[in-house]
Amino acid sequence: MANITINFLRTRFIQLNIVRITVKYVTVIVVAFFLFGLILRFAGKDPIVAIKETIIYTLGTTSGFSEVIVKMIPLILTAVAVALPARVGLINVGAEGQLYMGAWLATWGALTFNQLPGYLLLSIMILLGSIGGAGWAFIPVFLRARGLVNETITTLLLNYVAPTIVAFFVYGSWRSQENAMYPQTVDLVPAARLPSFWGTRIHLGLFIGIIVLIIYWYVMKYTKWGFEMRAIGGNPQASKQNGIPLILYLIVVMCVGGAIAGLAGMSEISGIHGRLRPNFSPGFGYMGFLISWLSNGNPIGIFLMSFVVAMITSGGDILQINQGLPFAVVNILLAIALYTVLYQPSFWERKKA
């Protein structure tokens, strides 16, 4: 185990200057907050108060910090869901839809098998969540593999279809009669809930996320699969001629990516909400795409960037409550942070084409 840890830190995959990276992440956050403050000023709000409240809440209080960690869970998972297919050259912009379908199928499992004991029910939900996401990812990758439609646009469009399926069930046959005001399913049985820790909302999903991240790193770094996937990403035609089953890889890798996004949906429902609601995701899938791209698929980068994005998203809650701003305003802060990174092409030493 210790051996693996040392190898992990030595690997070229993450061989980055930690200090420089930290400085750059801090720069991103500072610049983003500064420009965001200017925009708030134009909107007639006091930016100093707004930003101070955001930072104190997210970094200065236990509950606020734990909320940041809670938001990291789906972000890590959706980022891996995008990063993995990206290794074979597939662009998965559909993690949002895969997340919804994972949540949907996992909820079906929780409602159907609600007599089972916790460990069994949770395993079934994890399985179903993965199947839901994988199935939703299969549609675009199948069309791509058949040479019919490019996967970028189909994954994007399917993001608009998945929430309508969730809404169909939540407003329809699954709707709880207890609360007529809000469309939602009945509360899941306690056995269907992922355990949470330390009196916060941080739940077992965090460990699922970290384990997925480590498996992702290990597979890419040390296995034949990872090697062949990088070969496909580098030159699909050459790898095909070298006997790598190209089509099979594309389909399997994309479906595994979708399954991971589905896990994110399952863990949100089981760990946080405890019931299925329409529109429960504030765009975790899209955020995951950006995290994956900005970290260049690097596992440590995914972890750090998820933290930054989670912090920004948590800031949105506080802006909404204290400043009366629409929650969507947090997207500005997110966008500026991304612009700051995109603005410097040398931010990550990208391989020259």
Binding site: I39, A43, I91, V93, L143, R146, G147, L148, V149, N150, T152, I153, T154, L156, L157, L158, Y160, V161, T164, I165, A167, F168, Y171, G172, G283, Y286, F289, L290, W293, L294, L325, P326, F327, A328, V329, V330, N331, I332, L333, L334, A335, I336, L338, Y339, L342, Y343, Q344, P345, A353
Partner: protein, 305 residues
């Protein structure tokens, strides 16, 4: 289905298809210059909110439309700065612009939620004044609808019959060769993006100021993405974009018709029709893509130094 309801579906197809035609034309121009813009969704939202705010404040819808177009152009310059000057990844920059648009439009539009505005007058389609009023009522369109087809023709002329269009397409096919031929790829891409943003702004103006006459968050509902799909469907050709826009508009109209006629299908599943239809159309069209897409679509031009 009676004649009246058929006309109703046709009329609302034209209304909802118009904004889509404008934004698709904009994306055709951008992609012909080699740039995929996934940020159109956000750009449309900001344009729609600014246009609505200006119309609501000044009471002049024409001013609102102009403001909306200008906002679209400016927003695309922000995107263009990243992808042209800073050579950033186009998909990531587009999604960042989408996020920016989500947030900025919510901030701009918040005071105007539920507001009332004065819209463009609706004029009866020429030659239909003899129809009974219950029919002719369906054919009263606004100025932007009448301008949609001439605009598509104009864009076609611009792209395929002028020197400027030739240069633009050359940059989209191979920026290095275009540079060697004495063109300035970056400048051409900026111009293309500005025009493309203005068209997206016009589309947004039609949606918020003319068609729905309201502002609400996320009101474009994926039209920016559907436009990207329709560009593929129309094989990067402005005139084929008309068919694509009408088809999508028809899907929206058909969905509204089914809901109104009380068919026992969940409205949530009907909401999915336009997106599913777009995917089905792409499948039916599939395979031909590589013969008509601009060759260096999505590639970064690093300059020739």
């Amino acid at each position: 289905m009676t004649f009246l309801s058929l006309f109703g579906v046709l009329s609302s197809a034209i209304f909802s298809g118009t904004s889509l035609l404008y934004v698709t034309l904009g994306e055709v121009i951008g992609e012909r210059a080699g740039i995929v813009n996934l940020g159109l969704e956000g750009i449309m939202l900001v344009s729609a909110s600014v246009g609505f705010a200006i119309t609501s404040t000044t009471g002049n819808p024409y001013l609102g439309i102009l403001a909306s177009m200008f906002t679209g152009g400016l927003m695309n310059m922000l995107f263009g700065y990243l992808v042209v000057s800073q050579k950033a990844n186009q998909l990531a920059s587009g999604l960042a612009t989408m996020f920016f648009g989500f947030g900025l439009s919510a901030l701009i539009g918040k005071p105007y939620v539920g507001g009332q505005i004065k819209s463009l007058p609706r004029l009866l389609f020429p030659g239909l004044s003899l129809l009974p009023e219950k029919y002719s009522f369906q054919f009263q369109f606004d100025l932007l609808i009448y301008l949609a087809l001439p605009m598509a023709t104009l864009i076609w002329f611009l792209l395929f019959r002028t020197r400027w269009g030739l240069g633009l397409r050359a940059v989209g096919e191979n920026a290095d060769t275009a540079y060697a031929a004495g063109l300035n790829p970056n400048l051409i891409r900026y111009k293309a993006l500005f025009l493309s943003g203005m068209l997206a702004g016009l589309a947004a103006a039609h949606l918020s100021i003319v068609y729905t006459k309201t502002w609400k968050e996320f009101m474009t509902a994926g039209r920016g993405f559907i436009a990207v799909a329709l560009v593929i469907f129309s094989k990067w050709h402005p005139l084929r974009a008309i068919a694509g826009a009408l088809l999508f508009g028809g899907a929206v109209a058909f969905q509204l018709f089914l809901q109104a006629s009380g068919v026992n299908i969940s409205p949530f599943l009907l909401d999915a029709i336009p997106y599913v239809l777009t995917i089905l159309v792409l499948i039916a069209w599939g395979g031909n893509r590589k013969y008509s897409a601009p060759a260096s679509l999505g590639r970064i031009y690093y300059g020739s130094e």
